[in-house]
Each structure stands twice: as C-alpha cells, then as structure tokens.
Amino acid sequence: MSLEDLKEKLSKVVEPGDMVPRDYEKDGCLLEIKARAEQVEAVAKAALEADCFLESIAAVDFTNGPQIIYQFNSCTSISRVLVRVQLSRGESVVSIGSIYDAALWYEREVFELFGIRFDNHPDLRRLLLPEDADFYPLLKDYGKVHAFRSTEDIYGE
Amino acid sequence: MTAQALHDFVYVGVFLLAAVLFAISPLIASWLIGGRSVGAKRAETYESGMPAIGSAWIQFSVAYYIYALIFLAFDVDVLYLFPVALAYDKGFFIRDFIEIVIFIGILSLAIVYAWRKGVFTWHKRR
C-alpha cells in the first residue's frame, strides 16, 4: 500500500490545498494534512481503507486553542501521515473509536490531560489520574511551564 | 471393665489431651506474646490492595464443589496410608504392596470416571 493511493483516497476527503508533503528525513512524516473537526471521521475511514493503523493521537495546547495530531502509519511502507486538527477553546471532536479501537484509550487520555471532549465516545472517563482529579494537567495554564505560544509563533501561519 | 482396660484408657486419655494441647498452644502463645497491629483497613478482605466489590455469597459453578470432593477423597485416603506405612514390610513385602496398589487403584478410578464424564472441563455458559 504505497503513499500514492493513500493520498488519492485522502484527496476525496480533504481539499488538495490542505495536503502538504513533508520531508521525511527532517520531520519524520511524509504527509501533513490540515483537517477541520468534522473531517476527522472521513479521514480516519480513508486511512482504514488504505490499510493504515492509528499510531497515536497527541494534543498540543496553544493560545488560540488546542490542536489534535492524529498519526497514521502503514506497516507495509514508510507512509506516516500527520493529520492536524486545530480546535478553538472548548470545541469538541467526533470520536473515531468505532473505526480504530486504539483511539478509545488515546482519546480518553487526551480528554483527561487536555479537557477536549470527544462526541459519542463509548466511555469517556479518567484513565491516568485518580478518579477525584478535576484538573487538566497538560494545559499550559496549569502548573509550571516554560512558555505559552500561539500557532503563528511555531508554525508561522 | 478390668483394671487393665481402665489403665489402657488412661493412655488414650493422655494422648487425646496432648493432641488438644498441641493444637491449642500455638494459638495461646501467639495471643500472648504476638504483636498486635492497628489500622482502619486491617480487617478488610485482601484483594490486591483494592476494596473488594460485592459480597462473596454468590452462586458459582458446581465444578468447584467436585474439585473439593476429589481432594477430600484422596485426603482421607492418605489418612489410611499412615498406619500402613508403619506396618509395612513386616515380612510379607509383596502382599502389602499389592494391597496398597489395589487400594489406591480403586480410589483413582473415581478420578478417571469423573474425568471421562467431563466434570472437570469448564463449560462456557454464555
């Protein structure tokens, strides 16, 4: 399953402008996709058809809202795809737990550490912190942090 | 009851008394000189550090009961082997050996029967 037909499957879902090829040597991923919150499920379905597995879901907190990073990879060829979803504060995303079971725990962890809600997630409850914890530790305004930047500072757009 | 019989019963009485004392004395000793621990969760059931959920009074499968029965059968069987071990090889070696083989053989037939009946295999209910 090479990168081309993964691109071709994803192009049906995402506008070509959002698909940015990345230099694998330096950045570690071949393709970067900027998706909106409602396109997430379609992108996940396309990746599943392209026989990719969900490598990880990470989140980063910026001044203009948290950003969720979905990473898909295929075990037959180097084709790591980074899907970047920029959310505004308090916005929620559709859970892709029904497509990739791995997402269930990743989403619970992102919810617990960042406070981002995932709609129609089977059981969105705490995973790592004690049951009575009511804070979201990885948000930049919690605890001791070096800097709190916006996406322009880092990605320049 | 001749004096001799009464005299013999004294031995039995002493033996029983010693047995009872032998059983109870560790309890008394540890009650007296053992340390005492203190703590809120001291008396709770141990379930790898977590509070146990629900009560243990539930219906569980009958196979556990069969395991216990088989254990009991062979436990009693060992009880009979003690005196045999004492009186073993007093001249008729072959006879004693065959008797034991027959004795244990018949008992292990119970296991073979239970095994063939499939009592020990865990059937899946759902």
Binding site: S56, Q71, I78, L82, D101, L113, I154, Y155 | I53
Partner: protein, 372 residues
Amino acid sequence: MANEFLEPITEQTFYLNMGPQHPSTHGVLRLFLKLDGEYIVEADPVIGYGHRGHEKMAESHLYEQFLPNTSRMDYLAGLIFNHGYVAAVEKMTGIEVPPRAEYIRVICAELNRISSHLLWFGTYVMDLGGFTPFLYSFDDRENILDILDRVSGSRLTYSYCRFGGVSRDVDDEFITATHQFIERLRSRWDDYHNLVTKNVIFIHRAKDVGVINREVALRFGCTGPILRAAGVPYDVRKAEPYSVYSELDFEIPTGTKGDALDRYLVRLQEMEQSLHIIEQALERLPDGAIKAAVPHKVRPPRGDYYFAVESARGAVGFYIVSDGTSYPYRLKARVPSYGNLQVLTEVLPGTLVADTISILGSIDIVVPEVDR
C-alpha cells in the same frame, strides 16, 4: 441479613480486582475483571498507578534535563528510549553523529534489548509456575548489566546516549566481554529450549492462548513482538532504518497464529538476531570521535518532529514540538505498551482466569511506560 438468602440470586458474575499489587502484573497494573465462574466476561485494565507526569515535566525542563526521564519511562529497554529521544533531538537540530558513536549506540541498544527479553523470559515462565528459568535468565542478564554498567555507569536507568554521540568510549575489555557474553548465551540456548520450549506444561499453557491475529493487532495499534507474532514483519529498524541499521543485515522473525507460544518464539529468535547484529557491529566498529561538538544548550528550530525507534516492546516514537528555545514546547512519547495493553479488552473476554496470566505475561507490559 436473613432474607438476603431467600431471594434467588440470579446474578452469578462477580467482580475481581487483579489489582495493583499482584505478583504477575509486573508493576502496578490493575485488571478489573468481571468473572462468571472461571470465565472472564469483561476485562477493563485500569492504569495510572504508575503515572509520573513525564510529559508535563518535559515542558518545564531543558532538553538535556529530560534525558534521565527517558530511561525511567521504560526501565527494561532504557537505552533504546535514550537512543530514540537523543536521535529525535539530533535530527531536529541537524547534529551530525560520528559513525563510531552510532555503532556503539547500536551495540548497547541491542544488548539492552536482549536483557529486556531475558527478564521477560524469566518472569513469564515464573508466572506460569517455573521458578528455575528465572534464575538462569537473570544470571545471563547480570552479565549484560555488567558490560553496560562498565561503560555507562548504571545498570538500568542509563543516560549513556547524549546529543551528538555517547558519553564514554568503549575499550577493548568491553569488546572482549561482549564476545564472551555472546558465546556464553549461545551455549545456553539449548538449556533454555530443553527447560522451557519443550516443556509440555508450558506448551499447554501457551499454545492457542490469547490469539491476536493481524486484524485485531492493527485495529489496536499493537507493534513489536505482538504484531510480528501475528505474521506482520513490521519492525522500525527495517521499516524506517535509523542510525546504522541499514548497513547491518538481520531478519525479522515472525510467527503465524499470534498466540502466546508464537510471541514466545518470536522473542527468542529476536534475541538470536540481536546477537547477530552485535557481532557485525563489533567487527565494523570504526575508530574516531565518539561525540560531535554540540552547544551547551541545544536549541532546535521551530516546528514539530517525530522520530521512531524499535524498543523491545514495539515502536517507540517521540513527537516533539519546539518553539526555538532550549525548552521543548510539547513532548509526547508514543509508547508501544499502550496499544499492546489495550488489546486485552478484546482478547481476555471468554478466556479462563488462569489464561489471563499467560496472555498478560506474553504481551510483556512495563507499567510506568504505559502510564508515562
């Protein structure tokens, strides 16, 4: 109290905590099991008992200060985590690592992989009731720890890889000790096989137990020996060759059915492959510097980067967002045991409680790595 026994109790399932303190959960993992007699109806691994907040720590510490944390996430394959983190930062800042350092890193990483597999072998067979293989494998493992201790200074939590190379050079004694270790371990293989692989009880406890086929493994994002036992030859050292793995030749052992026995055999063959890699790397060890010139505080350019290595348990990835300062803005460690543990929710229901121990042992979880 009395009438409680009068009503017929229909519900026959009960809840059992294979909880944080359990000899076979290798750390503080809690399996919340719903049991119906000996069969598991539902299994919910509860994690978080080893959560130390590594990722929050990274945001308020320098790149150099976070280095010791990496080998404390997965302390069985600490050097491989070190290698992953250090190579990620080097790739971000474009630091050129001298070839001798790359070869030393590969040798020590493979030694660390063997020591992690040996520990898994000992504890797995001990969970299934065999006590002597634990002593054999720990004896061999102590040899590796001596070799690595001599050169890196610690037995478990290494900070041996530094940005730009390694902290100390290896000497001839290291090389001879490694050669002796390779002969010794190779002479012990048939002991291990006779003692365990050909043991009928072990085969009954591991054959057709906890079958994880290709589809389930990919759905849960499992990597490492679990995915390879299901027949998928995915290994980051071959799929995305980093460091000098492209110049060394080794095969990827794969299984067929994906049951506990296949995972066991895959790990044993992996140990032999690692020995093969170490031998080649020792022959090709070039001379030269062991550390490139690196600024005191590394300041990677802005942007986000991802770098993956192959740890003993699967693909370890470091996703680092840098804002140009010498503090990482965000650091996420993609950890293999996270997906490997989640597969239990799919595999355990329907198995016997006794098989849980065998499945959990064959998956080889390190809990602080899952909890980060």
